[in-house]
C-alpha cells in the first residue's frame, strides 16, 4: 500500500462554505473542512468561473483561528496602560464596568466625550463595528473620525473631478485596452478584487503593453509590466503634469471630448504652460523632480494619448502622501485629456469602485426638490453630530463619500485631539474610547503620539481577537470571535459582482462572543430597549439582504457560501454619461468632469488648487529637513498581512520579507549588510528592524511594510517595526493621509538581536 502522509483515521469531515473577510482587497471563498468541531484545513474556490480563490492570507487562517495568542476571556487591566498586564474577569463584570463608564462619562461630560473608533478589521455586513455603532447611537451618540488612510486622497479627488467614487470598470474590461498603466498599484500584494491578477496575466498573454510606475520593482511590475518606471515618491503629480504638457503642446488632447464633457481645460492648460508661475511643466522640468528621464515621460505621454483605448489605473498609494489629492486629481484629468473615459478599454482613474449594489442608484439624477441645503447643518443619525455645519474644506455640496460634517476629527489628528480637546480647536474634549475591530494605535500615523494620547483617557474598552498594541492600552478587553465562528455576509470590495456568505464553521472558542452578542448584553445595561439586538444573526442578515436588490436568492447564497452575479455587460464607468450626456450629466455641480473644480474654487485654499498641481510640503525631499533625514519612507502593504491583522500567523510570518527595504547604494555608505539590524528613525520615533538590501527599491527611498506590531522597548525603540512610529500625522486639507511622506535616516544598530 502507498504511504499517505498526514492523514489520520477517517472520521466524517464536513465542508462548511464560508469566506474570508478582513480588510484586504478581496473577500474570498473559503471551504472549511471541519472534523469533530475543529477546522482541520481550509480550501477555496474550485467551482464555476470566475473563481474567487483565497490568497495565502486566507489559506493560513487556521493558524489565526487556533492561535495560542487568541483572547479567550474578558480582561481587566492591572498594570500601566501599554504594559500589557491584565487579569481575567467574568463577562458580567466586564460588561457592568463598560456600562458604568459609558453612563458616567455621558453624565459628567456629555456624549461628545465618548470617542468611538470603529476599525476595518471585519468587513462583514453584520459584525465588527456596525452593531456597536448602532448601540452607541441609541445611547445618545459619540464623536468619531473622518478619513480612511487607504484612500482619502483618492476619494477627495474622485469626488471633486467626477462627483462620484464609482469610476472603475469591470476588471475583465482591461482586456479591451491597448495600453495599461499600473501607477503605484501592486495588486499582486494588495489583491484589488480577487480576479485582478488573473486578468492582468490574461492581458499580458493577449499582448497588451503594460507599464508600471512605482518606486519599487513590485511583484506586479516584475510579473506583468513590459516597462518599469521608477519614480521618486510624492512627485507623481509632477510626472503627470509633464505628460499632460506633452499631450497639450503636441495637440494630442481629445478636444472634442473636452468640449463636450469637461470644464476647466483652459485653466489647466495655463498651469501646464507656465502662464501662472512662469514654469512650463515640461518633461525637462519634471526630470530632476521625479528622477524619471524626460524622454521616458514624453514617450509614455505620447503612447497613452495615441494608443486608445488605454487604461490608467491610479493606485491609492501615491495618494497616501502629504498632498496626495493632487496626484489623484492629475491622473483623473489625464484620463479626460485623452478621452479615455466611458469607453471599453479606457479607465477613469479616480476612486475606482466598479460594482456596488449599495450605490446602484448613485449616478442617477437626483430629484432637485429632495436636495437639502447642507451649508447650515448636515443631518446625521448620530445625535452628537446631527445638524453640525459642514467642514470648511469638504465637498459638502456633493452627495456621497464626502465626509462633510465638522463634528468629526480627521483620523490622523485623533491623538492630537485627545491631547488638546476643544482648546486645540477640536469639536470635543474626549474622555473615553470605545474601540472595535481597530488596531488604531498601530495603524494611525505617529504611534508614539498615540501612546501618549491613550494614556490620557479616563477609560478605554476594546473588542478584540488578540492583545494588539492598542488592546494593551485598554482598561477592559472584550474577546471577540472570528469570522469562522459566526454568520455574516461579506459584500465585494471595489469591482466584482458577488457576495460571500460566511457560514459559521465552528463554535466560538472559549468565552469569545460576537460583536452582536456583546451589544445584546450591553443594551439593557445601558437602558436601551431595542429588540433588534435580540434578533438572530441570520434574521438580521436576511433583513440586510432584503434591502439589496442584487441578492435574489438568499437560500442559494447561504447554501453555496457565495453568490456570483452575472452582469448583462461589463461595467464601464460613465458609459451613459458619454453615450448620452444630455440625459446623464456627471454628478458634479456643473454636470461635467471638473478639471477646474467649482467646489474647490470656493474653498480658496492654496493647498487645494482648483486645478491639480504639483506641490511640495514640509517633509518633501527638497526641504531643509532632508539634510537631516535624507531618505524617503514608503509604508506599503505586506502580502503576508492585511494591515496589522494576521501579524501573529506563523505560516505567514515565515514568508514575510522582514525589515526595511534599502538599495545597496544607500546601504553601503552606512556599512549595512543584508540582514543587519538597523534603526530607521526621525524626530517622531525609531524602529529597529533587519535590513532587506535590494535593488528592487530606488536609491534614496526606503520601505517598511505597514502593519508590524508597535513594541517600544525601555529606550523607546520600537522593536515591532511599526511603520507608523515614523509617519507624519498632519493630513492634507482634502484629507489625504501622509503615510508615504515621512523623511527618515537609517543607521546600523547594535547587532545584539538574533537576525
Amino acid at each position: 500500500m502507498d504511504t499517505i502522509q498526514a492523514e489520520g483515521p477517517k472520521e466524517e469531515v464536513v465542508v462548511v462554505n464560508t469566506g474570508c473577510c478582513h480588510d484586504c482587497g478581496g473577500r474570498c471563498v473559503l471551504k472549511a473542512h471541519v472534523r469533530n468541531g475543529k477546522v482541520i484545513r481550509l480550501e477555496s474556490d474550485t467551482g464555476p468561473e470566475p473563481q474567487i480563490r483565497a490568497c495565502l492570507r486566507g489559506r493560513a487562517y487556521r493558524q489565526r483561528l487556533y492561535s495560542p495568542d487568541r483572547l479567550k476571556y474578558p480582561l481587566r487591566r492591572v498594570g500601566e496602560r501599554g504594559e500589557g498586564k491584565f487579569e481575567r474577569i467574568s463577562w458580567d463584570e466586564a460588561l457592568d464596568t463598560v456600562a458604568y463608564e459609558l453612563k458616567r462619562v455621558k453624565a459628567a461630560y456629555g456624549n461628545a466625550a465618548i470617542l468611538f473608533l470603529p476599525g476595518a478589521g471585519n468587513q462583514g455586513l453584520l459584525h465588527g463595528p456596525i452593531m456597536p455603532g448602532m448601540l452607541l447611537q441609541e445611547f445618545g451618540g459619540f464623536t468619531r473620525f473622518w478619513g480612511i488612510p487607504s484612500y482619502e486622497g483618492a476619494l477627495f479627488a474622485s469626488m471633486a473631478t467626477y462627483g462620484t467614487i464609482r469610476t472603475g470598470n469591470s476588471r475583465e474590461d482591461l482586456l479591451n485596452s491597448r495600453l495599461i498603466i499600473l501607477w503605484g498599484w501592486n495588486p499582486a500584494h494588495t489583491i484589488w478584487d480577487p480576479e485582478t491578477n488573473l486578468t492582468l496575466a490574461k492581458a499580458k498573454e493577449k499582448g497588451i503593453r503594460m507599464v508600471a510606475v512605482d518606486p519599487r520593482y513590485t511583484d506586479t511590475a516584475a510579473t506583468f509590466a513590459d516597462q518599469w518606471i521608477p519614480i521618486r515618491p510624492g512627485t507623481d503629480a509632477a510626472m503627470l503634469a509633464a505628460m499632460a504638457f506633452v499631450i497639450v503642446s503636441e495637440g494630442l488632447e481629445d478636444r472634442d471630448f473636452l468640449n463636450k464633457y469637461a470644464q476647466g481645460f483652459e485653466t489647466y492648460r495655463d498651469y501646464l504652460l507656465g502662464k501662472e508661475d512662469g514654469r512650463p511643466k515640461t518633461p525637462e522640468w519634471a526630470e530632476p523632480i521625479t528622477r524619471v528621464p524626460a524622454k521616458t515621460i514624453a514617450d509614455l505621454a505620447r503612447a497613452y494619448a495615441t494608443q486608445k483605448p488605454a487604461a490608467l489605473i491610479a493606485g491609492w498609494g501615491p495618494a497616501r502622501t502629504a498632498i496626495g489629492e493632487q496626484y489623484a486629481r492629475s491622473a483623473a484629468v489625464l484620463c479626460a485629456l485623452t478621452g479615455n473615459i466611458g469607453i471599453p478599454g479606457g479607465y477613469a482613474a479616480g476612486f475606482m469602485r466598479a460594482y456596488s449594489s449599495r450605490e446602484a442608484s448613485h449616478l442617477q439624477k437626483k430629484d432637485p426638490t429632495l436636495k437639502i441645503d447642507k451649508s447650515k447643518g448636515i443631518p446625521s443619525s448620530n445625535p452628537v453630530e446631527n445638524g453640525a455645519p459642514p467642514r470648511p474644506y469638504s465637498l459638502y455640496k456633493l452627495s456621497g463619500g464626502t465626509n462633510a460634517t465638522s463634528a468629526r476629527i480627521h483620523q490622523s489628528l485623533i491623538w492630537d485631539a485627545i491631547l488638546k480637546g476643544k482648546a486645540g480647536g477640536y469639536p470635543a474634549d474626549l474622555k473615553m474610547a470605545y474601540i472595535v475591530a481597530s488596531n488604531c494605535l498601530n495603524q494611525y500615523p505617529n504611534a508614539n503620539l498615540g501612546a501618549q494620547a491613550l494614556k490620557r483617557l479616563e477609560f478605554i474598552v476594546i473588542h478584540e481577537q488578540f492583545l494588539t498594541p492598542t488592546a494593551r492600552f485598554a482598561d477592559i478587553v472584550l474577546p471577540v470571535n472570528t469570522f469562522l465562528e459566526r454568520e455574516d455576509i461579506a459584500p465585494p470590495w471595489l469591482g466584482s459582482p458577488y457576495y460571500i456568505y460566511l457560514n459559521k464553521a465552528v463554535d466560538p472558542l472559549e468565552e469569545t462572543k460576537s460583536d452582536l452578542e456583546i451589544c445584546r448584553l450591553l443594551a439593557p445595561r445601558l437602558g436601551i430597549q431595542n429588540d433588534f439586538f435580540n434578533l438572530s444573526e441570520e434574521e438580521i442578515l436576511r433583513l440586510f439582504a432584503s434591502r439589496r436588490k442584487d441578492i435574489t436568492d438568499f437560500e442559494a447564497m447561504k447554501r453555496d457560501g457565495v453568490l456570483k452575479i452575472k452582469l448583462p455587460e461589463p461595467i464601464v464607468a460613465f458609459r451613459d454619461q458619454i453615450r448620452d450626456p444630455e440625459h446623464h450629466p456627471f454628478p458634479t455641480l456643473s454636470g461635467k468632469i471638473e478639471i477646474d473644480c467649482d467646489h474647490i474654487k470656493e474653498m480658496n485654499h492654496p493647498r487645494i488648487p482648483s486645478v491639480p498641481k504639483y506641490l511640495s510640503h514640509p517633509e518633501h525631499y527638497d526641504t531643509p529637513l532632508a539634510e537631516k533625514y535624507p531618505l524617503q519612507l514608503l509604508t506599503t502593504h505586506a502580502k503576508t498581512r492585511t494591515h496589522s491583522t494576521l501579524e501573529m500567523v506563523p505560516w505567514l510570518k515565515e514568508l514575510e520579507v522582514r525589515g526595511v527595504w534599502i538599495n545597496p547604494v544607500d546601504a553601503a555608505p552606512r556599512n549595512i549588510r543584508p540582514g543587519d539590524w538597523v534603526d530607521v528613525f526621525n524626530d517622531r520615533g525609531r524602529i529597529r528592524v533587519p535590513a532587506y538590501v535590494t535593488e528592487r527599491i530606488m536609491p534614496g527611498v526606503v520601505n517598511v511594510c505597514q502593519g508590524g506590531w508597535y513594541n517600544p522597548d525601555e529606550n523607546g525603540v520600537d522593536r515591532g517595526g511599526c511603520a507608523n512610529t515614523l509617519t507624519r500625522s498632519e493630513p492634507s486639507p482634502g484629507g489625504a493621509f501622509p503615510m508615504n511622506s515621512a523623511l527618515v535616516q537609517v543607521e546600523r544598530a547594535p547587532q545584539e538581536q538574533d537576525g
Binding site: 502507498d2 504511504t3 499517505i4 502522509q5 498526514a6 492523514e7 484545513r41 481550509l42 480550501e43 477555496s44 474550485t46 480563490r53 483565497a54 490568497c55 495565502l56 489559506r59 493560513a60 487556521r62 493558524q63 499582486a188 500584494h189 480577487p194 491578477n197 488573473l198 496575466a201 499580458k204 498573454e205 520593482y217 511583484d219 506586479t220 516584475a222 510579473t223 518599469w228 521608477p230 502580502k639 506563523p650 505560516w651 505567514l652 510570518k653 515565515e654 514568508l655 538599495n663 547604494v665 535590494t694 535593488e695 528592487r696 530606488m698 536609491p699
Partner: protein, 190 residues
C-alpha cells in the same frame, strides 16, 4: 502506465506563495519547517534594469529518480500506475542515520527532513490521496493565477506544449522530471 506530472506557468507566477501555504495547511507542516513544495525567487540585475522570477519547486517525480537510486534502504519507490515517487517512512533510516542521501542526490532539494535526528524523509507525493477522490493536488487547486496544473504528462503536453525551460530550474533532464513549463523569458545578460 500513464505518468502524471506538473505544469507550471512561470510567466503568471507573482510569487504569492499561496501554493506553499495551502500545502502546509493540507499536510499540517508547521512553520519553520520546509514544506513539500517551495517557491524560489530569482532576482538579477542592478537598479533600474532588473529581472525577477519565481520558480515553483515541488518534487518532479522523475522517471529516473536519483533519490530512489541513492536510498540505501529501498524506502523510495515509484508507483507503477502513475509514476508518482513515494516514500515509505517505515523503511527510511532517518535523517542522521542515513544521512540524507536522497536529499543530496536530488538536484531540486525535494526530499525534506524534520528537525529531529530520527526524522523520516517527507516530500511532495503529488497529493496522491486527492487523485483517488478525483481532485487535483492542493497547490494546483489553490493557485489564484491558475499557473499550475497536474495530470497525465501526455495530456499536459497536448494542452500546454513541450516547454522544458524555466528560469532558475536546473535542467537535469536526464532524470526525466515529470514537468511541462511555460518559462519566463530569461533576462538579457547584464
Amino acid at each position: 502506465m500513464s505518468r502524471i506530472g506538473f505544469y507550471f506557468d512561470q510567466t503568471r507566477c507573482t510569487g504569492c506563495y499561496t501554493c506553499v501555504v495551502a500545502c502546509k495547511d493540507f499536510y499540517d507542516v508547521e512553520a519553520g519547517r520546509t514544506g513539500y513544495l517551495r517557491v524560489l525567487s530569482i532576482e538579477k540585475g542592478v537598479f533600474p534594469d532588473l529581472f525577477v522570477a519565481y520558480l515553483f519547486s515541488p518534487c518532479w517525480h522523475c522517471e529516473d529518480p536519483p533519490c530512489l537510486k541513492a536510498c540505501p534502504a529501498g524506502a523510495i519507490t515509484q508507483r507503477e500506475k502513475d509514476g508518482i515517487v513515494v516514500v515509505d517512512p517505515g523503511r527510511c533510516l532517518g535523517r542522521d542515520q542515513c544521512p540524507e542521501k536522497c536529499k543530496k542526490a536530488c538536484p531540486w532539494d525535494a526530499p525534506q527532513f524534520g528537525p529531529q535526528g530520527d526524522a523520516k524523509m517527507e516530500k511532495c507525493q503529488l497529493c496522491l490521496e486527492r487523485w483517488e477522490e478525483g481532485r487535483k493536488p492542493v497547490c494546483v487547486e489553490a493557485c489564484p493565477l491558475l499557473a499550475l496544473d497536474a495530470g497525465p504528462l501526455e495530456e499536459l503536453r497536448k494542452k500546454y506544449g513541450e516547454g522544458q525551460g524555466a528560469v532558475g530550474f536546473k535542467p537535469l533532464w536526464r532524470f526525466r522530471p515529470s514537468v511541462v513549463f511555460k518559462g519566463k523569458k530569461p533576462p538579457a545578460p547584464y
